[in-house]
């Protein structure tokens, strides 16, 4: 710590901090336009000028000047005030004073500073800018006439997002922020640039003219899409969520969000929301009362035993999932599961075996402490964009090394010095096993490894996985495998990251085991910045696992439940929030199961394809309307509170399950808070937590690891026949599950499925961009538009799975890799 004097106050500040940081730390406010907590100092706006006695009273920018011992700083002398006023006058020379129609008014740094410094006249005159406003996309409006050239948008797009859509173009007075060739913005639409813009140059179009900033009620919440657990601030007016607001102090991610988090909130107040219960009468779903609907459901559940089954979405709160489980137990059934059954197997089967725990041992915070990130599948960026930001920052700011094992390239592959090893689809486990074998052969293991349970079995199971054998199988050279194994084993802080989810059937228990073996053999567990991080798909996927909402004690998993429906052994199926018809593999199979089951009950926000087949539809409510907790992928438990009243007559799943339990003669907990007390008392790691202790920050549930080495058996992948392409399924950057279809933002950017194909294959087959292709597999065919990209290897195609209109499960029956043919 260094000692300094700021405005005659004796203060201390850490070495390496800037004058701006030191002042902020000590509660002294220095005005600034071009600074953001997570961005590197830039020194563009000159608002933060201060005087330093040792620098002969010159005016220097506080944001780029490091503090030194004994520095005497004055932040508000008459000269400084005068200088700042002139900076504002100069900025206002070109900036239009169109505040009455600017959505930024009230939240505008320039407006606020102009007010604060009482700049009520301008000594200079000049013309205003005459730039054309970019209205070419539906999400971000770019009005460069208002721009003050602070560069925050261009910097955040590079330093945090890693996309680089915006930059300074031209020079001198003609300088402006623009895209390549001064074209319309065409990017990932995460809106990070919008969040940091100090003026109204970059605005969220969906919020334009919806409300004045000061009329919004701000409610902190947690994003309801993926498992990253990003924190949100919802802007609410008249019981409607109108926007998401930026708060640089929120969460590990400092308020940064992805496209779906920032622009995908419209599902909350969508016109398509169900507002009343529906009951099927004479083959038609008609509106009913809650009592009628709940009585009908209770009658089906009462004493039904194992003829009843439940499928839930891991978007429900922990309290709801536990209560749903209790409802099933009260009905006498232990058939319940979520996410098609396999999407959590990496945790519930893989890690359970290898770590003795159904959670990954590392957290997202470890990314910033690690010196080697081994990412399995570049999709970690697409499934969890904000985790992608963290990876980008670790690589660029801390020079962490990045190795990627993937069946295709992606944005992560473009990061500085990233090493991408592209393998033949479906050979991940063989590749990981060969890394383990190299580590064993080269004696790179920790000394204690040999004493661990399962060591001998693992060693013998790895016999076939010589680097040479795996080279011929995976296409990654033995030399590359050796180099990666050595680098991984010899880097103390090495972290393995891999995504799991409904479209990633290959990321199963065996993959988790193979990953765990590497970490266990090389002693990467229990060290900060090292270990394994598994990215689960939905906002409460980890919670669903922690609440035990998967088959235990001989209950049926999702696949067996569907079989049971078809076979008649399951007569009542209660689906809460899932849309299996679209998101589960094999459309025909799911359809026939739902057709055959005697009674289908669905609780959902929308009349989904699955809900449309139901006998009783219960209108549920979104995360913005209820209280409860979500457990993020790294076991961060966060408390959410309602931001708006429930839409229509909708009820939270908590209320629905409570009412049903009461109808079955059981005793339901009074409030989510009361049920959380039970969770805290019974779920490992949650001990001592309550809504009060969770606060706004949330709390990590510790993961206790008992390492066991286990052979990871690679399922033998039937090679795709000659002339066929290997179809990979996965997540599109803009979507998450099927819910994001009801978010206008994601649908504007990515309204339909597509098929990514390599340039080489496209050229050979004379396929052009957006050509409609017929994709045929063993189970069916569908039409998808071609998207030609340099990231796909020859012979491999990729399609995202989220879209109801054209569900990919018509051609995909749950295999990690599906052989398909393409025709124009």
């Amino acid at each position: 710590m260094l000692n300094l004097t700021i405005d005659d106050k004796q203060v201390t500040a850490p070495k390496n901090s800037t004058i701006y940081d030191a002042a902020k730390l000590n509660g002294i406010k220095i005005p600034i336009l071009c600074h953001d907590k997570k961005l590197k100092p830039f020194g563009a706006c000159r608002m933060c000028l201060v005087e330093v006695e040792q620098m002969k009273g010159r005016q220097i920018p506080a944001c780029t000047t490091p503090v030194t011992e004994g520095m005497i700083i004055r932040t508000a002398t008459p000269d400084i005030i005068k200088a700042r006023k002139m900076v504002l006058e100069l900025l206002l020379l070109n900036h239009p004073i169109d505040c009455p129609i600017c959505d930024k008014a009230g939240d505008c740094d320039l407006q606020n500073l102009t007010y604060e410094y009482k700049v009520d006249a301008n000594r200079f005159t000049d013309e205003k800018f005459q730039h054309e406003i970019d209205y070419n996309n539906p999400l971000i409006e770019r009005d460069m006439n208002r721009c003050v050239l602070c560069g925050k948008c261009a910097r955040i797009c590079d330093e945090i997002v890693g996309f680089g859509a915006l930059t300074f173009i031209s020079r001198g007075i003609e300088t402006k922020i623009g895209c390549e060739f001064d074209e319309a913005l065409n990017c990932e639409f995460c809106g990070s640039c919008v969040s940091v813009c100090p003026v109204g140059s970059l605005l969220a179009r969906p919020f334009k003219f919806k409300a004045r900033f000061w009329s919004l009620t701000k409610q902190k919440s947690v994003c309801g899409y993926c498992g990253t657990g990003c924190n949100l601030t919802l802007g609410v007016k008249d019981n409607k969520v109108l926007t998401t607001l930026y708060d640089e102090n929120q969460g590990f991610h400092n308020g940064q969000l992805c496209c779906r988090g920032r622009f995908g909130y419209q599902f909350i107040n969508s016109d398509k929301r169900l507002t009343k219960p529906l009951v099927r009468k004479n083959g038609v779903l008609v509106e009913s009362t809650w009592d009628e609907a709940l009585d009908a459901v209770a009658a089906r559940l009462k004493g039904a035993g194992s003829s009843v089954a439940a499928l839930a979405t891991p978007r429900l709160t922990n309290e709801e999932l536990l209560l749903f489980k209790k409802l099933m137990v009260a009905s006498g059934s232990n058939n319940f599961d979520h996410s098609a059954g396999y999407a959590h197997a990496a945790l519930t089967a893989g890690f359970a075996r290898s770590f003795g725990s159904t959670a990954a041992p590392s957290t997202i915070l470890d990314i910033q402490k690690s010196s080697l990130l081994l990412v399995i599948k570049t999709d970690a960026y697409e499934t969890h964009p904000v985790v992608g930001f963290e990876i980008n920052m670790a690589v660029k700011n801390r020079e962490a090394r990045l190795s990627i094992l993937s069946d295709k390239r992606g944005k992560l592959s473009k990061l500085p010095d990233a090493k991408t090893l592209v393998h033949v689809p479906g050979t991940e486990i063989a590749v990981l096993n060969s890394l383990a074998r190299i580590i064993l052969d080269d004696k790179l293991t920790v000394d204690s490894a040999a004493a661990l349970p399962g060591y001998a079995e693992l060693v013998s199971s790895l016999a076939p996985f010589t680097p040479e054998a795996v080279e011929s199988q995976s296409g990654i050279s033995a030399a590359d495998l050796r180099q990666l194994a050595t680098t991984y084993a010899t880097t103390e802080k090495a972290l393995i990251i891999f995504p799991i989810g409904q479209a990633y059937p290959g990321h199963n228990a065996a993959l988790a085991t193979a990953v765990a073996n590497l970490a266990i053999l090389t002693g990467k567990l229990g060290t900060e910045g090292a270990g394994v991080l598994c990215l689960s798909e939905k906002n409460n996927s980890q919670g669903a696992v922690d609440m035990g909402f998967y088959p235990v004690d001989g209950g049926s998993d999702a696949s067996l439940i569907l079989d049971g429906c078809s076979a008649g052994s399951i007569k009542t199926l209660f689906v809460a929030g899932e849309n299996p018809l679209i998101s589960y593999p094999d459309h025909a199979r799911v359809k026939s199961a739902l057709d055959k089951v005697e009674c289908l009950i669905v609780s959902d926000l929308f009349l989904t394809e699955t809900a449309a087949m139901a006998d009783v539809v219960l209108p549920a409510c979104s995360f913005a309307e209820k209280e409860g907790t979500f457990t993020a992928t790294d076991r961060r438990i966060q408390h959410i509170k309602p931001a708006i009243r429930k839409v229509g007559q909708s009820r939270s799943d908590f209320d629905i399950f409570s009412a049903l339990i009461t109808r079955l003669g059981g005793e339901a907990p009074a409030t989510p808070s009361a049920l959380f007390a039970e969770i805290a008392a019974s779920v490992p790691g949650y001990a001592g937590m309550s809504y009060i202790t969770l606060g706004e920050e949330g709390s990590f549930a510790p993961v206790e690891v008992k390492p066991v080495l286990t052979a990871a058996t690679a399922a033998t992948m039937p090679a795709c026949a000659a002339g066929t392409f290997a179809l990979l399924t996965g997540s599109a950057l803009y979507h998450n599950g099927t819910l994001s279809q009801y978010g206008e933002g994601p649908m504007h950017v990515c309204p339909e499925g597509y098929l990514e194909i390599s340039r080489g294959d496209a050229a050979t087959m004379k396929i052009g961009e957006n050509d409609l292709l017929t994709v045929t597999s063993d189970t069916g065919n569908m039409k998808l538009k071609a998207r030609i990209t340099p990231r796909m290897p020859q012979g491999v195609v990729f399609t995202p799975y989220h879209f109801s209109g054209n569900p990919v499960n018509r051609i995909w029956s749950g295999a990690a890799v599906t052989g398909v043919t393409l025709a124009k």
Partner: protein
């Protein structure tokens, strides 16, 4: 893609041999800070930096296309449109101005039917007004590519244009 952009992309459909750019890129690929020499190199080869080349450079050097555009628009030395075979530069610095550079410039405009920083449709000439060329003793001064013409007169403009009209492009 907006309509305007699509239209521009269509206009841009000049056939460009990327192999030439690749040769330049290969020469510098392993050198840190290679963007400037690569862009200068490709401009030397093509005479300007065609859009497809800029995009190709972005992909191969792993630099954002926006950043490349930023560099190309920052430096006056880079050109995004095809340039004439003969670059005529007329000095309008102080000394040349006093010696009547304005008339020289206007005469060139009349003869070539183009203005400042424009190129004739046949790609024979590009005309530029420049600030000092550093040979004030020869004012008013003009240059055609590397050849210098001092003591310019209206008649000399005529002679230069007649001369260069006959040269192959």
């Amino acid at each position: 893609m907006s309509e305007v952009v699509a239209q521009q992309a269509e206009e841009e459909e000049v056939v460009v041999d990327l192999a030439i750019a690749d040769k330049v890129i290969d020469k510098y690929i392993d050198i840190p800070g290679n963007l400037m020499p690569v862009l200068q190199g490709v401009q030397d080869e093509y005479g300007y930096v065609p859009r497809v080349v800029a995009e190709h450079v972005a992909e191969r050097l792993n630099v954002y296309p926006s950043q490349i555009y930023g560099v190309l628009t920052f430096y006056a030395q880079f050109h995004l449109k095809p340039r004439g075979r003969f670059i005529i530069r007329v000095c309008v610095g102080t000394a040349c101005h006093v010696q009547g550079a304005t008339r020289i410039v206007e005469t060139f405009f009349d003869k070539l039917h183009i203005g400042h920083a424009e190129t004739t449709p046949d790609l024979r000439y590009t005309f530029e007004k420049v600030a000092c060329l550093g040979a004030c003793g020869m004012a008013p001064l003009a240059m055609v590519n590397d050849a210098t013409y001092g003591g310019m007169t209206v008649q000399k403009v005529d002679e230069i244009v007649t001369d260069y009209n006959q040269r192959p492009i």
